[in-house]
């Protein structure tokens, strides 16, 4: 437990009992009743505010429209371009920040009044993030021209707490892939006795080694690959990126050197490719098989192609889960929704069903709890249903099991 967990827990407990009074309830119920039955006319002051807001909105829209028409880009020349209102410029800067365009955002924020709410905070963040953005741009450019050492150095300049973490990770992964490919080539050169080429290739990746790199390492003294990569790894990395053709070609190449694992991986990839061609026609069973194959090839990592299949499987399973829920088969609905979320962790439908089932189960638990004294048999039936609807380790499930034991 960290130092501030204890006061946090105390505050949670101290504010747990906050509840509205009957007076407040009556006020809300009256307000809703009014909203249901009437179309309230805004008071005069609100009317004026609405008119003013409308006028301001038109000005902002006109300003942005004129800005885009005049320049075609977002930036404005202070001497001649149309002027954005502070609010519009701030909103624009926020959008740029959301897209991680920190340099442009800083440009816009610096034009604003420093006292405008939020500007100082965003500017401070921009000052920290702009160097990161520039380093990431440099790393990207270096990767594109094949200068791995420069890319690695640029990535090292990105601070660990940067909000552009995802982009940095993406580029690091791309660098790992390129590095491993070169390592495989270096190993081949060594196997062929071409020492000069091997040295040339290993030199190019000497500066790339990082502590968090997942692939093999280099012996800095000798410039040789040590802790040799798994032979199929280069192809698997291409597979993870969704490049099926490239991956199979690499595995085939590896397999010509009589490496059994590469042959098996290439066979798995071909089977995956065949199934993937028919993705649209695959049913839930086929999709599960495809994902199992992906897990086998990638050793538990998930390829980009599998993600697509996962989304499809998630949607299929969630459809069944929805139907099961509508039919009152809550246990089955929960199981299907869990599977859907496993296949596609971002499946909102599955999350919604699981969340809904959790609420229903809790309501049912409370109902059973209220019945346990008057009608124990019915209460037991309901407690059993709660267990079916929830995960075994959930609070409601554990409590329901306890009550079933006590009532039977």
């Amino acid at each position: 437990m960290s130092d501030f967990d204890a006061p946090l827990a105390r505050m949670r407990a101290a504010t747990e009992g906050i509840a509205p009074t009957e007076r407040q309830l009556a006020r809300w119920q009256a307000a809703v009743a009014l909203a249901l039955t009437e179309r309230p006319r805004p008071p005069r002051s609100r009317l004026w505010m609405a008119v003013a807001a409308l006028a301001a909105g038109i000005c902002v829209l006109a300003g942005v429209g004129a800005l885009k028409t005049a320049t075609g880009v977002h930036r404005v020349d202070a001497t001649g371009g149309p002027v954005l209102t502070e609010a519009a410029r701030f909103h624009f800067a926020q959008e740029l920040i959301q897209d991680d365009h920190w340099l442009e955002a800083r440009y816009e924020l610096r034009k604003m009044s420093p006292g405008y709410p939020g500007v100082a905070g965003y500017l401070a963040r921009a000052e920290r993030e702009v160097p990161n953005e520039l380093a990431l741009d440099a790393a990207n450019a270096a990767l594109e021209r094949g200068d791995l050492a420069a890319a690695s150095k640029a990535l090292d300049r990105v601070s660990a707490d940067s909000s552009q973490y995802a982009r940095a990770q993406q580029l690091r992964h791309a660098l790992d892939v390129r590095t491993l490919e070169i390592m495989v080539l270096a190993q081949q050169a060594r196997g062929e006795g071409d020492q000069e080429r091997m040295k040339q290739l290993t030199d190019s990746i000497l500066a790339v080694r990082r502590s968090d790199m997942t692939g093999p390492a280099l012996d800095l003294e000798s410039g040789k690959v040590v802790g040799a990569p798994r032979p199929e790894e280069a192809g698997v990395l291409r597979f993870l990126e969704g490049d099926l053709t490239g991956a199979i070609a690499l595995e085939d190449d590896c397999a010509t050197k009589s490496v059994v694992k590469c042959k098996a991986t290439a066979r798995g990839m071909r089977e995956f490719a065949e199934m993937y061609k028919k993705l649209e026609d695959l049913d839930a069973h086929g999709l599960k098989k495809l994902l199992a194959l992906d897990r086998e090839i990638t050793d538990g990592r998930r390829s980009k192609l599998a993600k697509t299949a996962g989304i499809k499987l998630g949607a299929t399973l969630c459809k069944s889960a929805t139907a099961a829920r509508a039919a009152g088969q809550y246990a089955r609905a929960g199981e299907l929704a869990s599977q859907a979320r496993l296949a596609d962790p971002e499946n909102n439908c599955a999350s919604a069903i699981l969340s809904d089932l959790k609420i229903r189960a809790h309501d049912l638990f409370m109902l059973a709890y209220s019945l346990k004294d008057q009608d124990p048999d019915q209460a037991v039936e309901k407690f059993k249903l709660v267990i079916q609807m929830t995960a075994a380790d959930s609070e409601d499930s554990v409590k329901a099991a306890k009550w079933i034991r006590e009532l039977q």
């Binding site: 509205p20 009014l34 709410p117």
Partner: protein, 186 residues
Amino acid sequence: VPVTPALGQVENAFVEEAPERAHAGDPHAFDLLIRITSPRLYRLAARLTGSFDDAEDVVQESFEKMVAAFKASAFMSRSAMEAWLYRVVANGALKVLRKRKRSRALAEQAPPRGEVPARAEQRAELAILTSWLLELPDEQRVALVLKELEGLSTTEVASVLECTEGAVEQRLVRARATLRARYGNE
């Protein structure tokens, strides 16, 4: 008088009764629903705004928006509506906080005369909580309150905030880092 939710009747309160009665012109169609959902909403609003008065207003506005959304058929199920209400209350509370920052108004008015001791204690705790979370950006504050104080799962927080679970985790990590840096040594 604290209100306890009449659990077990929740489903009927919205899915069956409320729309039918509201469409039939019953102005009290949502009464039970309000009674059931308001404790959690009010507590959330109080924890976020640090003020009972502001929380009351935020919850009222949220229910009025619920009626408007209901008239426009914006939600169909109770669970969806509850998440929607949670989101509206969270946003309403944030609006209050932003307005307060601009006007530099005091967080809480003087306690009313004759306030019961328990309520006074809660008011004091809310004031401490508010000062504690003051340094956090809005998004992080909401995520922290929903997760650590309201006890929602990461998935549920993501659903309320309409963002990914990863984004929620990131906000929580940052919020904890800020609090640790600020209060870790106290």
